[in-house]
Amino acid sequence: MARYQAGDFVAATALIARVSPQLHRFLAAQAECRADADDLLQETWLRIHRARHTYRTGEPLLPWFYAIARRVRVDHYRRASRIWAREARLQNVAEVAISAETSARADELDELLAPLSQGQREILEMLKVAGMSLEDVARATSSSVGSVKQKVHRAYRKLRQMRNAARLTKGQREALP
């Protein structure tokens, strides 16, 4: 990062190759299709580039990246909401450029996290999928560690309740003659 701030293009390229997959996965969770996620990633990197002087050596790097990516995602959602309110939504065809295994796991994750609110979902993604610490997630989401812990606890409780209720309903349906 320090070499990127010093204007080293090779370091910038290496950083882009290293961090982009994680950021893309985070952005893809709300994107309409793969192309949408690619655009969001590009937008995120433009903002990271414009804000690169705000990173200070010694501070954790991932929360800094995720704080900017999160801002891009929120702005995208707000813009999209405005557009959807005015225009009829066009059918998007997802571009299949990922492996079948990755896609299946992503589907399973999407299905699991679907009942959660946006805030709970992004915290679980950062904590469990991106492997960030509670402190890092708190920094990335501009909140306290206590607030992050509370959101994780509520998310797990909601997931348990939803999944158990779904199993119960399925079991009852199967028990019917």
Binding site: Q5, A6, G7, F9, A12, T13, I16, A17, S20, P21, Q22, H24, D38, L41, Q42, W45, L46, R47, R52, H53, T54, Y55, R56, E59, P60, P63, W64, F65, Y66, A67, I68, D75, R78, R79, A97, I98, E101, T102, R105, A106, E108, L109, L112, L124, K128, V129, A130, G131, E135, A138, R139, A140, S142, S143, S144, Y156, L159, R160, R163, R167
Partner: protein, 234 residues
């Protein structure tokens, strides 16, 4: 479903490869190449916060120099110490919160809304302890004048603070506006304590303290307008 089963799905998702096509990465790298100049990282939070405190002090002292130091001259030494020490501590907390808001991924010591609540409560407690004159002469007339005066001097403090932190990037503009407004409001209260010699308890409790939440609300409005503007531009 147990927590372990949930963890397993999340862990599987974390292990799944998420590779990106080379042309996309190359396109991103090429898009930043033309403007890849060396940049100086921002100074430490302590230095930036100290700069903000200095701005508050200069604006408050300049305002009092223009209008007179009637308030501080009439205060007892203990009251002077208690009021200005409290204002200094609160201004430092507000300055730190503002710097944190302007740097992505910073540790949030105090959220902007809690900052306003803490600052207002602390001022109310200190003023309630020090001022015991419960008369209400010219309550509204004198009070509105003080509120206006305090907020008026909060505006240049806010502008100068923005100038100092112009290289920062606010990821939450409304929160940054609240923190900036609270800091500017504290400069306004400092000016009132230096200038205003009306020591009636209700006057100080209501109209002097109100400068902080009113300035914070103004900051929130500016942040909200900036957010709307940037979304419209995009």
């Amino acid at each position: 479903m147990t927590d372990d089963e949930i963890d397993k799905v999340l862990a599987d998702a974390a292990r799944a490869p998420h590779e990106l096509p080379e042309p996309l990465l190359a396109r991103i790298a090429e898009s930043i190449k033309p403007s890849l100049q060396p940049v100086h990282p921002l100074p430490s939070t302590f230095r930036l916060a100290s700069g903000l405190i200095l701005i508050c002090a200069v604006v408050a002292l300049a305002g009092a120099a223009l209008t007179g130091f009637h308030g501080v001259e009439a205060l007892a030494p203990v009251a002077r110490f208690l009021i200005f020490a409290t204002l200094l501590v609160l201004a430092y907390l507000a300055a730190e919160a503002l710097v944190d808001e302007m740097i992505p991924g910073s540790r949030r010591r105090l959220s902007a809304v809690i900052l306003v609540a803490v600052a207002s409560t602390a001022l109310l407690v200190v003023f309630a302890l020090l001022f015991r004159d419960y008369r209400v002469d010219h309550f509204v007339h004198a009070g509105v004048a003080c509120l206006f005066f305090g907020v008026l001097f909060a505006v240049p403090t806010g502008l100068l603070s923005w100038l100092l932190l112009r290289r920062g990037v606010a990821t939450q503009r409304v929160s940054a506006g609240i923190a900036g407004g609270a800091l500017a409001g504290l400069a306004g209260v400092t000016l009132l304590e230096l200038h205003c010699a009306n020591f009636q308890a209700l006057h100080v409790l209501l109209w002097h303290t109100a400068v902080v939440p009113v300035s914070a609300a103004g900051g929130a409005l500016v942040g909200w307008l900036l957010r709307r503007y940037s979304l419209a531009q995009a």
